[in-house]
Symmetry: C2
Subunit: 280 residues, 2 copies
């Protein structure tokens, strides 16, 4: 089995390292960044670097680029992919990417599945790639209709081999709506939280809550801008929702209404407690 990875950043590099650590598959790399390729070769994260023409010998190709580049590379290489093989991407938004590439890939007979390994760090690039990035993560798949079940089964087994804790199969639209809440909103809120002018006095006054709330404030602005724009409506719904809830606490405080404030806090606390019970 030959697995080609296009883009050896945090996710691509971590997939390569995980493939070489936990499986016996060959792992090939493509990247316009020569340094990343050199490092990945030196680390043994890839067995060799390849050219687009060699993609035809890969049974699985994983495109690990930012959303726009993912679409561009998938379209530009539609003639190079192995028609008997499988091609997947790892973008954090699924509907926009899949809508953009599926017609072309289908026409070439290429089997394509959108995926989203739910892991990341507040640092990007190959230098931060590790072979345990996915160890507590969900591997989400959004296979198009009529995807051969062998392709889905194969990916599921691979994800478990690579250390993912759980595989979730859903539709692109459901994925995007949920991710707007569980991931995109977190980055927006964290990035907005840190902007208070009071930040200048923070040193010595912070416990875990400040660090937790602002951990993902540090992000890759270009990548997240693409992810947000590709998922505008769902994210706008979530931003709107949290603003409305924050305004409820605000109103209770303005009115010095302790009973109302305590009621609002209890609702949130109970929801979190339920959520903790439900998670494994």
């Amino acid at each position: 089995m030959n697995i080609a990875i296009i883009g050896l950043g945090l996710i691509g590099g971590s997939l390569a390292k995980s493939i070489k650590t936990y499986t016996k598959y060959r792992c090939w790399g493509m990247d316009c960044d020569q340094q990343a390729l050199t490092k990945a070769l030196a680390d043994g994260a890839i067995d060799r670097k390849i050219s687009p023409e060699q993609l035809k010998d890969a049974q699985l190709t994983i495109v690990c680029l930012h959303p726009q580049a993912t679409v561009e590379v998938l379209l530009a290489n539609s003639d190079h992919f192995n028609p008997q093989g499988l091609v997947i991407d790892v973008c954090g938004v699924k509907k926009a990417v899949m809508d953009a590439v599926l017609p072309t890939l289908k026409a070439k007979g290429v089997t394509f599945i959108g995926t989203h390994p739910m892991a990341g760090r507040e640092f990007s690039g190959y230098d931060y790639a590790t072979n345990d990035l996915f160890s507590h993560a969900s591997f989400i798949m959004t296979p198009p209709e009529n995807t051969p079940s062998e392709a889905i089964d194969f990916l599921e087994r691979l994800a478990i081999e690579l250390g993912f804790k759980r595989v979730v199969i859903t539709t692109p639209a459901e994925h995007d709506a949920t991710i707007a809440f569980t991931s995109q909103l977190a980055h927006v809120v964290s990035n907005g939280y840190i902007k208070s002018p009071t930040l200048k006095n923070e040193s010595g006054f912070s416990a875990g809550s400040f660090l937790d709330l602002t951990r993902v404030a540090r992000l890759n602005p270009a990548m997240w801008t693409q992810l947000f724009l590709y998922n505008r409506e769902a994210l706008l719904f979530e931003i709107d929702t949290i603003i409305k809830h924050l305004e409820e606490y605000q109103e209770a405080l303005v009115e010095n209404d302790g009973e109302r404030l305590q009621y609002l806090l209890k609702i949130g606390s109970d929801l979190k407690e339920e959520s903790l019970k439900g998670s494994h």
Copy 2:
């Protein structure tokens, strides 16, 4: 040296355990919850339970109750405290508590210092108390004017002995303004975050960012209501500030303005990066 602790909840219980683990001082306990007293005695977290009349033999009394109860207990026991000793509280707000108790305690000749051990958990009560709760925490002190320097020096040494990483001395008003941002806002935002209707689909779609953003959504509603009301203006400023910032991302998204969105994200990301450099 006899140290009396009034209120053996998460903070009081953790202080008792830390005192008995890291110092040779005697530790006495008072609590209206007989179970907590019994457990603390069985754990060796306190040497004995005492009555209010015995507070006169304590060189240090630490009141570890919710804000309103702290004020009530400090006023109710003003005749019992040792006038040669030191009395401190550990509330998360300082100005309202100190304004309420200082005139009475001063009139009785009692030395009082407001403190805030910057540690906590999303669980409350003696059962969650540990002897390492403070190991990475700041110990904040807001001594009134004319506090004897020996009292401040003694508390500073004690805090270090108990494992605190750092001691910060500031005014009640500065403490409250900063804490509104670093702690209170975190609890409001986290509690509001979890209220999206999308929560019901969260399972399997969450990476670290969702868990970080919602960790402190689970809180003690009664205690936090008191803390928030005692610090209304500062907290309202912070809620107002984050809503304004969230509205900026919202506007950029509505207008599909990628350049603006990326600019807004870069400001937050840079602020977090600076903040990480500044912290130790």
